[in-house]
């Protein structure tokens, strides 16, 4: 699709065209990925953060209660999550190098190796050598979102902290790839800026990465900004139709790229999106630090909207003709020969 066709489709209100392209995207997805959906879950290790991102619950100036799990607490969380059947784990922290240094991440990864077959990180951007260190320790994937590709808007939304440096963040996927990491997840926080500009820029970023680092398995996400009542920050409302269009366009343009959809979205949309592009979903997630042990979701980074249990999600997947996949990578020794 050309840039113009993409822009037109985003504005298009023609329901039958939407349906046609969804069907096309569904066919491509099935041919490339089969009738399987990979499942993962997040574990939040720490919510200390040195950035001030206007839209984020973890921002340094925000009132969230700060917590950082001890290694014992990390293991307790992991026992619960792996006990439920999850084998792909995503470990998250706020962006504080001081409170969650690389050594801490490495300790967490070493514990995770006992419980999970594949480990991914969503933490603050690191240097290439640090990524390489974590890769050798057993990390297979890294998630980093640019949030928005609109530089001006980016500057206005990221008030202080290391994240204010747009270029450093933009170059992060490249540093991850150079370190040897297998899977990279990219994305935008939909709603921060003009969607179609962000989508073009994300696609361009992804194309650049595919061309230069073809051995990496890429995936994308379109987390939607949750707009709270009283927000005055000029966020764009992203409708379900918008989100569905993002998924379809990604699939048409990138047949092999994985598409993730988290529990930030509600169950009906998640269930339907499986049929036209989504390949990976989180399940039974708790987005609070220590949330699996505590059994509550207080001070989360975002509110989980799909609260179904793993068994329930498994049942829905099967009823729709999908095989739930828990293990889709078996960790091997990553040390260079």
């Amino acid at each position: 699709m050309t840039k113009k066709e993409i822009a037109d489709f985003l504005k298009d209100t023609d329901k039958s065209r939407l349906e046609d392209l969804a069907a096309k995207a569904g066919k491509i997805t099935a041919a490339q990925f089969g009738k399987v959906i990979s499942l993962y879950a997040p574990i939040y290790l720490s919510n200390y953060c040195e950035n001030n991102c206007v839209y984020c619950g973890f921002k340094a100036s925000g009132g969230v209660r700060r917590k950082k799990l001890t290694l014992e607490q990390i293991e307790s969380e992991m026992k619960i999550v792996s006990g439920s059947g999850i084998r792909n784990i995503l470990l998250l922290t706020g962006e504080s190098r001081k409170m969650s240094p690389v050594s801490y991440l490495k300790d967490a990864v070493n514990i995770a190796k006992k419980y999970f077959s594949s480990i991914s990180l969503e933490v603050y951007p690191l240097e290439t050598e640090e990524y390489a260190e974590l890769y050798r320790a057993g990390v297979d994937g890294v998630t980093v979102y640019q949030e928005t590709y609109d530089r001006k808007r980016y500057d206005g939304l990221h008030l202080s902290g290391k994240k204010k440096d747009y270029d450093y963040r933009y170059n992060t996927p490249e540093r991850i790839a150079l370190a040897g990491i297998r899977t990279i997840s990219m994305g935008v926080l939909a709603g921060l800026a003009d969607l179609h500009k962000d989508l073009f820029s994300l696609f361009a970023h992804l194309e650049y990465m595919e061309k230069n680092y073809p051995g990496v398995e890429y995936s994308v996400s379109f987390p939607r900004l949750i707009i709270e009542p009283g927000d005055v920050t000029d966020y764009r409302k992203i409708t379900d139709v918008d989100l569905v269009k993002c998924i379809i366009l990604t699939r048409l343009k990138f047949p092999r790229v994985g598409i993730n959809l988290s529990t930030r979205e509600q169950a009906p949309l998640r269930d339907h999106a499986l049929a036209f592009g989504v390949t990976r979903i989180s399940a039974a997630s708790n987005t609070s630090v220590g949330g699996y042990v505590d059994g509550v979701q207080d001070d989360p980074q975002f509110r989980v909207k799909d609260l179904r249990s793993l068994k329930e999600i498994e049942r829905v997947l099967r009823s729709k003709g999908f095989d739930p996949v828990y293990t889709d990578w078996r960790r091997i020794d990553n040390t260079p020969v």
Binding site: D323, W329, I332
Partner: protein, 259 residues
Amino acid sequence: MDRHPPLEIAGKTIKNRFFLGTGKFGSKAEMMNCIKESEIEVVTVAMRRVDAEEDSENLLEYIPDDVILMVNTSGARNAEEAVRIARLAREAAGVEWIKIEVINDSKYLLPDNNETIEAVKVLASEGFTVFPYMLPDLYAARAMEKAGAAAIMPLGSLIGSGEGLKAKKFIEILIRETSLPVVVDAGIGRPSQAAEAMEMGAAAVLANTAVALANDPGNATLAFSLAVRAGRLAWLGKMAGPQKDAVASSPLTGFLFEE
């Protein structure tokens, strides 16, 4: 009933020359039924999908015991990773048959022949029975043969494409010029394409997407098995006495002999 001799590889005798890939199925039970109903004898399983635990989610629980398990190294980006995955398969599942898949291009999923040759060298020397998945290139095939491959697995066309034998000419050359069994893998979308591969002398055909995404995978598996068998018989039939087109006269040189 069997008019054609079975395929023999590394001491195993294989009557059904249709090999089945186990990814992409909407249900593991359905995949198992396909194997049983069509008496599939060789299946490939991605090591990356094999659970560490033996529970109801473990793919291996759905593969009947008498089926030959060929584990593939999907996810390997270079020879060393393929070797590590193969060793893991041996340790964790006791598997000796390895389909070497080395892919360093997530967009087209084309195999890297150079790295694959290196992996064949190492794994064959470690006693594995190795089946390199490859782009049909004669030099690479010769190197793989020399390195100890048990068979070669050239792609028919891009994986998952269902485009059939786009690489037909080059696969034919491999069949003619190497003494290894040639198993055509990837891109086979219809039973007729599988039959075509067998008619030109392939030893076996492997498919996955075409079956797993069929509305009725059971019937699709059977159709592929029969097509592969028919193609094999056609190949043998031709060997017994292919008919050249009759030439009625000699328009160019006939004049030399005119009375």
